[in-house]
Symmetry: C2
DNA sequence: TGCAACATACCATACGGTCGGTATTTATCA
DNA sequence: TGATAAATACCGACCGTATGGTATGTTGCA
C-alpha cells in the first residue's frame, strides 16, 4: 500500500525499493551476511520504514522470495522462447534462452531463491518454502510443453514431464553453484549444452528440429 | 601439529574438532550465520584455541573447505563403485553410489563446499577458491573412466570427458539445492536418474551393461 | 480525526577479534 | 644427562563495533 506524496514523490516506494535492494545485495552476499542497515542504505530508506513494511528480517526474506517469484515469472512469460509452434522447439528454445541470459557478473544472472534456500533451509522454514514455491513453480511452467511434445511424438520412457521439468532446474541451479565455485559462468553454460543434448536424445532428435 | 599430553589426552585435537564442528554446523546454518562462539561450544574448545589455530573466521572457512576436500576424496577413493572392470560400469556405479548416499537429514548428505561457495563467492575469494578446488578436483577423478569408456566403445560427439565430469557435479549440486528448497531428498535422487539415463544415451546403452 | 507511512533516536545483545598469561613439549648445549 | 631456553597449544577475560529490533514522534492524505 505505497502512497506517494507531492513533496516527496519517492514516498510509498520504500517497500519495492527494499525488495529490489534485497534482490541485489542478497544475491551478492547471501542472506545472513546482509545487514538490515545495509539494505536500508542501499534502498535509501530508514530503518523505521523497513520494520514498518516488514516486521522482521525473516519477513523481508519471505517477501523477497515472493517478489522474485513474481518478477521472474513475468520475465519468463514475456520471453521469446514461447514463440515456436512446436512444443519441443519451445523447450529447446527455453534451454537456449537460459543459456543466453548467463552473461555479465555472477550476481546478475544467478538465482536469489536458490542461494537463499541453501542458506536458510534449516533455520527459516518460511523463507525456504517461499524459495521452494518459486523454483518449483517455475519448473511447473515447463510441464505442459514437455507433455505436449511427448504426446505429439509418441515418446515413452520411465520418466515424467514433471520430473524432467524439475531436472532442468536442477541443472540450472547446479550450474550456478559450479559457476560461483569456479568463478566462471561458462561452467553453467556447458551444463545447459548437456541438458540440450539429453532432451534431444529423449525425443530422438539429434539435429535441428523442423516444424 | 596437534600434540596430546598425558594429563589431557584430548589436547591437540582442537583443530580437527573445530573442523568437524564447522563441517556439521556450517552445512546446517551456512557460513555467515555460524558464529565462532558456536563452533567453539560445539567443539568444546575455547575461543583462544580457535584463534590460535585459525587466525580468523575466514581462515577457518578455507581450512574447512580443504578438510572437506581431503575427507571426501578419501571417502570416494574407498567407495565400492571402483570395483567393476568396465569403465562405463564404474561411471554408472558412481552415479548409483551418489544416489544411494542421499539418505537421512538434508544436512547430512549435502555438500559443505557447494553451500559455502554460493554464500561467499563474492565476499571471500579465498574460501570460494578452496571450494572450487574441492568440487572441480572431485570432478577430475571421473575423467579417466569417462575417457576410457569412450575409447573402448568408440564414442564420438561434441562433448569432452572433462565437461561430462563437471556436468555430473552440476546435477549433484543442483539436486541439493532443489532438495533443500523443496525439503525433499527425492528431488536430488530423481535428477540422478536422469543423469544415468543421459549417460546411457551418450554411450548407446539402454539396458544393463555387461562386461 | 484517524491512520498509514514513514523518520530518528535508542537499546540489549551478539559478534569477530585481541591480549596477557599458563602449561607442556621440544631444541640446545654444557 | 640434565638444566634451560624457545616454541607450541591453549585459556578466558575483555573490547569495540555491528546487529536486529523498538519506542516515540511526525507527516500527509482520506
Amino acid at each position: 500500500m505505497p502512497r506517494p506524496t507531492k513533496q516527496s514523490p519517492e514516498r510509498g516506494s520504500a517497500r519495492i525499493r527494499l525488495l529490489e535492494a534485497a534482490r541485489d545485495v542478497v544475491r551478492t552476499k547471501g542472506f545472513a551476511a546482509t545487514a538490515v542497515d545495509e539494505l536500508c542504505k542501499s534502498a535509501d530508506v530508514t530503518k523505521g520504514a523497513f520494520f514498518h513494511q516488514f516486521g522482521s528480517k525473516d519477513a523481508l526474506g519471505v517477501a523477497a522470495a515472493e517478489f522474485w517469484a513474481e518478477t521472474t515469472s513475468a520475465f519468463f512469460a514475456a520471453a521469446p522462447y514461447h514463440a515456436p509452434s512446436d512444443p519441443l522447439e519451445r523447450i529447446l528454445a527455453y534451454v537456449a534462452f537460459r543459456k543466453a541470459i548467463i552473461a555479465g557478473d555472477l550476481a546478475e544472472f544467478t538465482c536469489l531463491v536458490g542461494t537463499m534456500a541453501q542458506e536458510v533451509f534449516a533455520s527459516s522454514p518460511a523463507i525456504r518454502d517461499a524459495c521452494g514455491r518459486s523454483i518449483l513453480g517455475h519448473a511447473a511452467t515447463l510441464v505442459a510443453d514437455i507433455e505436449a511434445a511427448r504426446r505429439e511424438r509418441g515418446i515413452t520412457g520411465d520418466w515424467t514431464a514433471e520430473s524432467l521439468a524439475r531436472h532442468t532446474q536442477t541443472i540450472i541451479q547446479g550450474g550456478f553453484v559450479l559457476a560461483k565455485a569456479g568463478n566462471d559462468p561458462e561452467l553453467a553454460r556447458e551444463s545447459l549444452d548437456h541438458l540440450e543434448r539429453y532432451i534431444r536424445h529423449l525425443f530422438h532428435v539429434t539435429e535441428e528440429v523442423e516444424t
